[in-house]
C-alpha cells in the first residue's frame, strides 16, 4: 500500500525532529493531510503502528493526531472555486486511483465546472504536513 510509504516518511521525519530537538520521548505528532491525497486513514494508521515498534522508546507512547484539509480548487481563467469532493464523485475508479498516487494528475482528469478550463490551482488540500512534534 502506498500509505505505508507516507507513514514511513512521517516516522522518519519525527525521529529527525526528535534528534534535532534532543527529545528523549515524542508524546504527540500532529499531521495535516490534504484531501486530494485521498489517504485511507485506516491503512495509514495500520502502517504507522507496524512501523513504530514497541521497542522504539522515542515513539511508542506518541499520540498521532490527523487533520484532513478539504481540497479547494480555483480556476485560473474564470476565478470559480469548487470543492474536490464534489468533482470526485464523477471520477472513474482509475482516475481516482491516479490522483491518489500523484495528486497533481487531478489536472488531467478535472476541469473547471463553470468554464471547463483545465487551468486551475489547488488552493488548499494537497500534500502531507507534519504540523508539530511534541515531546520532552
Amino acid at each position: 500500500m502506498h500509505e505505508w510509504a507516507l507513514a514511513e516518511a512521517v516516522v522518519s521525519t519525527a525521529l529527525k525532529v526528535a534528534k534535532e530537538e534532543k527529545l528523549s520521548e515524542i508524546t504527540k505528532i500532529e499531521i495535516k493531510m490534504g484531501e486530494l491525497q485521498q489517504i485511507d486513514l485506516e491503512a495509514f494508521e495500520f502502517a504507522l503502528k507496524e512501523i513504530i515498534k514497541p521497542e522504539n522508546l522515542l515513539l511508542r507512547n506518541a499520540e498521532i493526531e490527523f487533520n484532513t484539509e478539504k481540497a479547494v480548487l480555483k480556476c485560473r481563467v474564470c476565478g470559480y472555486r469548487w470543492a474536490f469532493d464534489d468533482a470526485a464523485q464523477k471520477l472513474s475508479e482509475q482516475e481516482s486511483e491516479s490522483i491518489h498516487f500523484i495528486p497533481e494528475t487531478a489536472h488531467v482528469y478535472l476541469k473547471c465546472p463553470k468554464c471547463e478550463s483545465p487551468d486551475f490551482e489547488i488552493e488548499k488540500g494537497r500534500g502531507v504536513w507534519i504540523e508539530s512534534v511534541e515531546g520532552g
Binding site: A5, L6, R126, W129
Partner: protein
Amino acid sequence: MDPRVEIIDERLKNIDRVIAVSGGKGGIGKSVIASTVALSLAKRGHKVGLLDLDFTSPSTHVILGIDDIFPEEEKGIVPPEIYGIKFMSIVYYTGDGPSPLRGLDISNAMIELLAITRWGNLDFLIVDSPPGIGDATLDTVRLMKKTEFLVVTTPSRVALATVKKVLTMLKELKSPIIGIVENMKITRSSLVQEELEMFNVPFLAEIDFDRKLENTLGDVNRLLQTNFARSIANKVIPQLTKPVSAAI
C-alpha cells in the same frame, strides 16, 4: 514540514549513481539518449532505473515501446522492470491525456513520486529531464542530491546558447557535470566544442545525426542496432562506467 521531502534520501540510498540527462532545449535528443544509455547499461549487466521527469510531455515510454505495464503497490510503488530497466513515468497515472502542470504542481508531483517510489538496489538511475532550466532541474538538484548531469546539445547555435546557460547554472549550483554530448552532428564543425571549452567540462562525444533512428523508436531491438545506439555504447557508456572519481 513536508515528510515526503525528508524521506527522499532514504528512497535513493541504495542507488550508486543518479545521472540526469539535461540540456535546456527541447528536441535535442535528451529522451532518446537517456533511454539508450539506460538500455546500454542494462545490457552490460548493470542494475538500471529510468525515471522520466518530463511530466508534461513524457516520451521515454514511446521510445521504449512501453504501453502495457504498471507499477506494483508494495509499501509504496515499485517500478515494473522491462528490458532490464526499472521504469518510472507519470504516464502510468496520466495515460494519454494532457497534463497541464505549472511550476508548483511539477515540484509537488516530483516530491510525491520520489517519496513513494521504491527503486531498491540500483547501479544507475538515469533521469530524463524536461526542457528548460526551471523547476524540474532545480528540484532535481534540491531533492536528488547525488545527481550528476550529462549535458546534451546539438550543433545548432540555438541549442548552444541555452546549453551555456545550463552549464553556468549547474556550476553555480555546484552540481557534478559528467560531460557534454553533442548530438545530431551533420558537419565536422568543432564550433560547439570550442565554444564550450571555457566551462572546463569533459567533451564526451559527438554523435552523428542518424536518419534511420526515427523509424526504430518504439522497437528496442531495432533501436539498439542503430549507429546512434552504437555511438552511445562506444563513446558515452565507457565514460559512465569508469570509476566515479575519474568520471567527474
